[in-house]
Amino acid sequence: MNKDMKILIVDDFATMRRIIKNLLRDLGFNNTHEADDGLTAIPLLETGRFDFVVTDWNMPGMTGFDLLKHIRADPNLKNMPVLMVTAESKREQIVAAAQAGVNGYIVKPFTAATLKEKIDKIFERL
């Protein structure tokens, strides 16, 4: 796994972005960038040559679920790995995210070990 890969963290709460950023830094990923919802994430993704997206689900503007669908529908972005980190824990939501092509799903509150495990798993498969 390339530790220099460019990661976009999408969450409407600055605190959660900071937590994820810190956890990623502890895992050796320093090239992280932030967006506060799907709408601000899309232009960054289109121009920023990102390698990986970590997104929340429930956000104003555009949700992480819609962002995921947008990424999968965009020919330039469709292969981008997406990890959902969210408080949404309904079974049908997890199934919907899986069907929309999510690469990993973490429910909040979560641990650093879970984040590491899911990221490792995602990049093992690519």
């Binding site: 709460f13 600055a14 605190t15 900071r18 937590i19 810190n22 689900w57 429930n58 949700t63 679920f65 969210t86 408080a87 949404e88 824990s89 309904k90 079974r91 049908e92 939501q93 997890i94 199934v95 919907a96 899986a98 799903y105 973490i106 429910v107 909040k108 979560f110 879970t114």
Partner: protein, 263 residues
């Protein structure tokens, strides 16, 4: 409530008892008495209606007042109710929790390099110390080690004190739990009050319908067809135990569910 029911019951009793008399008067051809009886019924109905309207008006007034709306003041609509206040309170909760999280993370970020340098210095010294124990050290090196240990002890003391201060600040930063808890409780009380007032209003509206005889087309069926789509976000599940099987209770269940889908 019971008062109004008894009043309309009185009216119903009057209606029942006079109807028989009315029919017999009409059959007997006593039209004047019959018209008088009709008049009596009408008056009783009006009296009942006026009383009900008066009572409902008072109740409505109380109910509106219970919404904590300050209708007398010439304030903008957004400042009229405690709802605006509740919104402020909830924003306060967001700000408090955010600043507590940031304070905590700031302190942790300050502590991490200190802990790392302590660890590094201790590891280096231990190597030197091992050399000393193995008697591999020259007298000059030993004098250096001597000074270094003294420095290390000093800096350990001050760094441990620094860590201790930061830990107590981290603990203090958790005071948001108490403060936000109080604010959230107040908002919960307001929501309960508003709900009770709404229930009162609905109950009154149904009474108005009853005494005036208004019937509404059934609106219930439309409501039931609105089903939430799966992709609507609802935020953290606060009572997963009560929700049963439609929500997962942790990461393990998410993983199980995803692996059952071939992930």
């Amino acid at each position: 409530m019971s008062e109004s029911i008894s009043q309309s019951d009185n009216f119903e009793e009057l209606l029942k008892s006079t109807t028989g008399e009315l029919v017999s008067k009409i059959e007997q051809g006593d039209l004047v008495d019959a018209v008088n009886l009709l008049q009596q019924i009408n008056e009783a109905r009006n009296r009942n209606l006026y009383q009900e309207v008066g009572r409902l008006t008072r109740a409505l007034h109380d109910a509106i007042r219970n919404f904590h709306l300050d209708t007398a003041a010439s304030m903008p609509a957004s400042e009229l109710s405690e709802m605006a206040d509740a919104t402020d309170r909830l924003n306060y909760v967001i700000n408090m929790t955010q600043s507590a999280a940031n304070r905590t993370m700031d302190k942790v970020e300050e502590c991490l390099p200190v802990a790392t340098s302590l660890k590094q210095e201790a590891a280096d010294l231990r190597q030197e110390w091992a050399r000393l124990l193995r008697r591999e050290m020259k007298p000059e090196e030993f004098r250096q080690l001597y000074r270094r240990i003294d420095q290390f002890l000093q800096s350990t003391e001050s760094q441990a004190a620094f860590l201790g201060e930061n830990f107590s600040e981290i603990t203090l930063a958790q005071d948001y739990q108490d403060l936000t808890g109080q604010v959230v409780k107040k908002v919960i009380t307001l929501v309960h009050d508003v709900e009770a007032s709404l229930v009162d209003l609905v109950r009154m509206a149904s009474q108005v319908d009853r005494i005036t005889g208004i019937r509404h087309p059934d609106a219930k069926q439309e409501q039931q067809t609105q089903v939430k789509p799966a992709s609507v976000a609802e935020g953290p599940v606060v009572n997963a135990e009560k929700r049963g099987v439609d929500v997962v209770s942790g990461q393990d269940e998410v993983d199980d569910l995803l692996s059952s889908l071939g992930f």
